[in-house]
């Protein structure tokens, strides 16, 4: 299924790759020429190669130092929970960090070749999409989920991130449900300031309207949502 999806994506994108190959210059958010979700040559190649979860488990070894063996990250949210994230999102984020579009100097040395080879990116992404985290994620300091839920729907967050925080694999919108509260708070800040580098322009606009307590409420709500994969069963 995933393979078919990937090959359809790739078939659509092949002409783009040919054009992009020599003239490719990455841009970050806020810089002239920034295009959200621009297909980098590497991302095109990763999608073309597809992924194998068994190989991905092996290639993920080096990531365990921070994201832990079950991909649960850490409760404080310094490192995000990666389990269940969409393959498309993981590939977008990894390749954009490598390309310098998402700015993440802390992580960069650990996702560059040879720590992670290009051929391993798809494997890791497919593996993480399937893996189960054993440990619980970090929640907000107090339950603000009722307020957070209201804000989430009133501001139409669900249009992109889904009614259950499940994101959208086809559009590379991330799963937010059951993510660590601390991580969500940090990324909202980085999106607001542009420091994340690869944010959706609409997301930057949307987050600007949120006060600090509104953010806390929404982050708390999302952190208390169940893993969306448990709903499908």
């Amino acid at each position: 299924m995933m393979k078919t999806l990937l090959s359809i994506c790739v078939a659509l994108l092949l002409p783009l790759q040919a054009v992009a190959a020599d003239a490719y210059v990455p841009k970050v958010y806020g810089k002239k020429g920034y295009v959200w979700d621009e297909m980098t040559p590497e991302r095109v190649e990763v999608l073309r190669l597809g992924g194998d979860p068994v190989k991905g488990k092996e290639a993920f070894r080096g990531c365990r130092g921070c994201h832990k063996a079950d991909a649960a990250g850490v409760r404080e949210g310094v490192y995000p929970r990666l389990s269940g994230q969409h393959t498309s999102v993981l590939i977008k984020q990894i390749t954009e960090i490598r390309a310098g579009i998402r700015l993440n100097p802390k992580m960069l040395p650990f996702v560059e070749d040879p720590a992670i080879a290009l051929e391993e990116i798809g494997d890791i992404a497919v593996y993480l999409n399937q893996v189960e985290s054993l440990r619980e994620n970090g929640k907000g300091p107090e339950d603000m989920s009722a307020k957070g839920k209201k804000l989430y729907f009133a501001n139409k967050c669900d249009t992109c991130h889904g009614k259950n925080g499940e994101g959208d694999a086809a559009k590379a919108f991330p799963v937010l449900a059951a993510q660590h509260y601390g991580y969500l708070m940090r990324e909202m800040k980085l999106i607001e300031t542009g420091a994340r580098g690869n944010s959706h322009p609409d997301m930057v606009k949307a987050i600007a309207k949120f006060s600090q307590t509104d953010r806390e409420a929404v982050a708390d709500y999302l952190s208390r949502l169940p893993d969306y994969r448990t709903l499908a069963k």
Binding site: R61, K106, P109
Partner: protein, 239 residues
């Protein structure tokens, strides 16, 4: 400061080779009836001391058995060096060993002793040397500082969240046995491990691909480095 150390290093190296040449007849005799003098001769605490004997080996490609006598002076015949400053080579991934030998040869990795020694070893010998030490069984180590080792375990298993130090176990495995990308650590001499981490931190060693280890070491302080090195020596490969 750095320049001073470098020039001292160069002088020592030159001196070592010169002394080695003076001792040449003696040491080649030693090499013939060889079995164990390595441990006694290698005992001094400074890194520079063992250089004279080993510097005496003849030039040009040598058969493996001959060449191993050169290595054994500092690393023991089975690759389980008992000199705290020198690494155990036993059980290290052959690709890793090969890369280190090449890097010493090219100057991408430097060490006052090894940088001199490597000039005597022909590049054609590297592959067999790497394969030999890869096949040796890593000896177990003990810590003399169990409390420090316990602190090191926390870092090794969990990393240091505040300063973004990843857990060592992520890349090197929980038992320190390493992977195809990252070297074996279990039982390694703690002085050597701490020195390497400090060298990665200072940039004195920078032959790690894409500076991954330098990145991690720069996020650690000396106390954390020493603790983790003390834990690493206690690691035993999981059966």
């Amino acid at each position: 400061m750095k320049h001073n150390y470098k020039s001292i290093g160069r002088c020592l190296r030159t001196l070592g080779v010169l002394i080695g040449m003076m001792f040449m007849p003696m040491t080649s005799a030693w090499a013939e009836d060889a079995p164990a003098p390595a441990t006694e001769a290698a005992a001094p605490a400074t890194e520079a001391a063992p250089a004279p004997e080993v510097a005496a080996a003849p030039a040009g490609p040598q058969p493996l058995e001959e060449r191993l006598q050169l290595c054994a002076g500092c690393h023991n015949p089975d690759g389980n060096s008992i000199i705290p400053e020198n690494p155990k080579l036993s059980g290290l991934d052959a690709k890793y060993l090969l890369r280190q030998l090449k890097d010493f040869k090219s100057g991408d990795r430097t060490n006052d002793i090894m940088s001199g020694i490597i000039g005597m070893v022909d590049e054609s010998e590297f592959k067999d040397l790497a394969a030999y030490f890869n096949e040796q069984k890593r000896s177990e180590g003990v810590t003399e500082k169990p409390e420090l080792a316990a602190q090191g375990k926390q870092i090794f298993d969990e990393g240091i969240i505040g300063s973004a130090v990843p857990a060592c176990s992520g890349c090197h495995n929980e038992d320190g046995s390493g992977t195809n990308k990252y070297p074996r650590l279990n039982g390694q001499n703690p002085v050597y491990v701490a020195n390497q981490l400090k060298n990665f931190k200072s940039g004195a060693r920078k032959n790690d691909p894409k500076a991954v280890m330098q990145t991690v070491a720069k996020r650690m302080n000396d106390a954390e480095i020493e603790a983790v090195a003390e834990y690493i020596v206690t690691l035993k490969e999981a059966q």
